[in-house]
Subunit: 681 residues, 2 copies
Amino acid sequence: MNAVRVRSVESYVGGRWHAAADGTVVNNAVTGEPIATVSSAGIDFAAMADYARTVGGPALRELTFHDRAGMLRALGKHILADTEALYALSTATGATRADSWIDIEGGAGVPMAYAGVGRREMPNAKVMLDGDPVSLSRDGSFMGAHIIGPRPGVAVHINAFNFPCWGMLEKLAPTFLAGMPMIVKPASQTAYLTELMVRSIVESGILPEGSLQLISGSAGDLLDHLGPQDAVAFTGSADTARMLRTHPNIIDNSIRFNAEADSLNAAILAESATPGTVEFDLFIREVVNEMTTKAGQKCTAIRRVIVPSGLVADVEEALAERLSGIRVGDPAADETDMGALASLDQRDEVRRSVAALSGVADVVVDQCEFHGVDAERGAFLAPTLLRATDNRAIAVHSVEAFGPVTTIVGYDGAADAVEIAALGKGSLVASVFSPSDDEAAELALGIAAHHGRVHVMDEACGRSSTGHGSPLPQLVHGGPGRAGGGEELGGVRSVHHYMQRTAIQGSPDKITAITGVWTPGSRRTDSGHPFTLHFEDLQLGDAIETESRTITIEDIEAFAELTGDFFYAHMDEEAAKASPIFNGRVAHGYLVLSIAAGLFVYAPPGPVLANTGLDNLRFAAPSYPGDELTVFLTAKQKSLRAGSGYGEVRWDAEVINQRGETAATYELLTMVACRPEGDAA
Amino acid sequence: MNAVRVRSVESYVGGRWHAAADGTVVNNAVTGEPIATVSSAGIDFAAMADYARTVGGPALRELTFHDRAGMLRALGKHILADTEALYALSTATGATRADSWIDIEGGAGVPMAYAGVGRREMPNAKVMLDGDPVSLSRDGSFMGAHIIGPRPGVAVHINAFNFPCWGMLEKLAPTFLAGMPMIVKPASQTAYLTELMVRSIVESGILPEGSLQLISGSAGDLLDHLGPQDAVAFTGSADTARMLRTHPNIIDNSIRFNAEADSLNAAILAESATPGTVEFDLFIREVVNEMTTKAGQKCTAIRRVIVPSGLVADVEEALAERLSGIRVGDPAADETDMGALASLDQRDEVRRSVAALSGVADVVVDQCEFHGVDAERGAFLAPTLLRATDNRAIAVHSVEAFGPVTTIVGYDGAADAVEIAALGKGSLVASVFSPSDDEAAELALGIAAHHGRVHVMDEACGRSSTGHGSPLPQLVHGGPGRAGGGEELGGVRSVHHYMQRTAIQGSPDKITAITGVWTPGSRRTDSGHPFTLHFEDLQLGDAIETESRTITIEDIEAFAELTGDFFYAHMDEEAAKASPIFNGRVAHGYLVLSIAAGLFVYAPPGPVLANTGLDNLRFAAPSYPGDELTVFLTAKQKSLRAGSGYGEVRWDAEVINQRGETAATYELLTMVACRPEGDAA
């Protein structure tokens, strides 16, 4: 049917590049000329899923969280090392250099950020504890814990057209950190850019074979071949989300489905942010940014500009003035502020949405001059500013024009602003502009339940803010209701989506064996002073029960003298007795801690290099003069810092007195050296 | 149509009891006689949902987590104070006293446990922080945090017939702790018992009006009236779960849907748990318990008894012997071990399932003597033990006989056991019986991804274990795939299901105002020494910048002398220099901490009663002799212990040196007294 002489965008399936002869023609957004064909015809989707599960999954699960974090870091660096081909091709999507920066370098930033999450917030292990173990019996012989561990399935990622690189990478990072292989299916419209990035990643050899596969074109019957250990994550329209979510196989197998759908995001100008305030200016700047960046094709872009009724005219005027300075045209030109939409179809769709809004909104701005392009052949559109004639009209809060379009909506009082924002029935993000802490808190807390993210803008963060529309790796991205009810990103939170949380019950020794973290009540082993053992030689449960030491009143007085801590409960018998909690003078908590250290320290140079910190210290009972303290110190958790020559060891410390009472419990953190190179065990 | 003279089970709607004239007849499980009719005819479900949202929701959201925890505690105590009427009525469901104990007292234990979760793990506030705030800019002027806050919707709970009390209470507790009103719809078969409990709860006046409503009978068109802020939680069959999950309104509004469906739970006898071991005996006891408790009508009951091929005969013999001693009959009789199924329909259903299994399994036991009952008129059934003829037959791993029925399945080697367990395609729970830590860990980690809970049983926890089949409030209950893909319980984890997580971005002051927790970089206020302020008078951000103190070598030596901590890095210049991290002798970390306390302490008696603990201490830089330390101590978070006369205050502590470097950061926990009664501010 189609005689266009353009290349076909390929898929990467089962370790090979796959080309389909015919396919849907995709056009350059700027010139309207054909650029490629896209088709997934001929792919065996069942085999593809199986390849991920049997080749990619096992290879990823062999690695620890830190190993995979290292892989993500290498991946991010690899992409950043050579971005020019990506930038060049990205122009065809209508993106300016600034738009492409978000997609390409912003995209590469996600695996880099997740590399940090993996190294800092996850252990160098294959499963991780979720919360502390809890005792399930009076005597502590029956314990419960939760582990988060890998799932032997495949993650299928179905992405939107607007961010062909970032859209892939923001899902890739948590998926790989979780140890799950993935199959990515970008939107056909801009699949050629995703293909280029996947080629570069595959060629780098950084990822284990089978861990990343690409479908260019339709996902065919892939979903029919998924099972209960698989996961599907989708970004795109609510209609497609609905279709995928009700897929019989997804329903029958309770397959995890995470959706992030477009929504009617709001920016709220607070009443105190009047013209002349920094916040008013920031508001105007941000609305214009959100209208024009990516030509407004962001799922997070501001669609509803919610402003005090009395300020509508000021906001209109200020926005119209700023918009008149926006240069729309060739995205490759340096001076261009706004490029093209991704396709002519997309422009038609936006025009239809604007028409749907025209019944309930007046046009404030919808014209501009186009620079150096044929605006009709390319998918160009003027920034379009509307003003709602009825601030509760359904269309204003439900019709999303996915382009450089936004609608001004008036409100009266904070409660009204919250109600109006909630009419969006769930959004990805809203921003609040206010100089006042109280006003900002009232608005932010009022709208929080309806949003995945709330951005508060004020003078203090005016320069440093990354803006309303930018999802960040550290913060969750998603929202309730119309926004799909899903969650992505948010650091380690999104890694959990690709893992299974399992409650574990059993005796302390069994919990220790399964979690890889020593659990209170487990066996303690005396292998000599554990501070004499190198990282590799130290085993969980290696412990020391120290000598005892009696605290004297002289100790307390000397400690007060040395430290300057003359708190009455340590120094004054009568005053201490009058306190509601003490029976008389007590030892300083820090004296207890210091005496404990004196009891368990191993003084000569050895593998323990330093005490780097301490967690969860609780003084369970006061220590009085005459109390005799003993410490149990037990190796609780080990996490190797690969390549650094040392590891972190977390110790369980318990200080008990002669009555068998626990005086203090805490976790001690130490750096422990690995064996010198060449040393055998 | 129906002339049965029995009472109708009522609904509680909009603050009034609602009776429907006709209804489905429900029979006594033991005698087969009609006991009640059930119908929800005449209920305006839209108004019911609205009542929850507009009356119950606002009342609950006025309360803090601690207030609601107190309410749950009162509720649990109220139920436990008078259980006899519930026990008496419960007999009609076929339950023995021991069965009813799980339902009634086990049920009341859930709100009690959640009261503890609320008081211990949540702040005395209306929103809570999720994780620590993170800096999103180099200069710290732009921060991000996550809050978990209430949703202004209604939770709809659709429950199974087997636990009419526990089933309601295990969903009620996290829902109310979250601040959400609920509508409960128990299964009609045993709705009369739920009704009795709801009557008692309503009469107690403990819960705010509108926070609890009851539907006896069909849920009608209730789901059509739900929106994006609502939630649906379901326990029951996979078929019903499928129907609910695909309800168009649930899909269109991304309404949160949590399902907990029946599954083919397994008990795995490890190879080392041979006859004669304690674990073998525990295994036999547990399988029999799970077959007979509640006549096997538990979603968690063991359906697949996975044993080493070589031990199948031993297991068969031991189970058959134990089953022969089980007395089946009148649940009201003390000597009865197993009562009736919940209904004759239910028995028919189980018989159909056994028939479906008969093609792939041989019968080992299926007869028993019935004591004091007409076993055909009542819903009685003999414990039924099957042995799979093909250990991978689909029916064995997919047909759930929801009664006193289980199937023995042989395996060869741990990997085979894991594969066989996974054939269940996702289960709520599996148990592993092994004396060996390594073997147990291999099996538990192998099956973890397919289960919501894994129970490891050994001699050490043989007496204290609560058993394979008991979900506990502290541990998650749910499972992937066939088990519904949902999660309930698990302490605070399930509270989150009824709340919204929202990322907040902004300047530190704004983050502080919104989260109610002082955020680094926020304003610090000098209101005099903050330790002189009573709990009510202390504001977030109240801070002290202390005087400075220079550490001397004499301090270090005196501290070593006093504490006994002669670690070489403090005492030996050459050895310290040789260490990879120090440039010479350094101060003890605990000396730094103690000097800091000496700098910020307020010595005379005052509102600060005690330092109770310390969190997240990190020594960021070594402190050398000559270093001059200053402390910034700032009120970070307040949580009132209502009725105790004091509150907990968490302080942000930062120790800096004369170079402006951070030597240590931590959070200090103190008990701070409230103003004496009668004192005005």
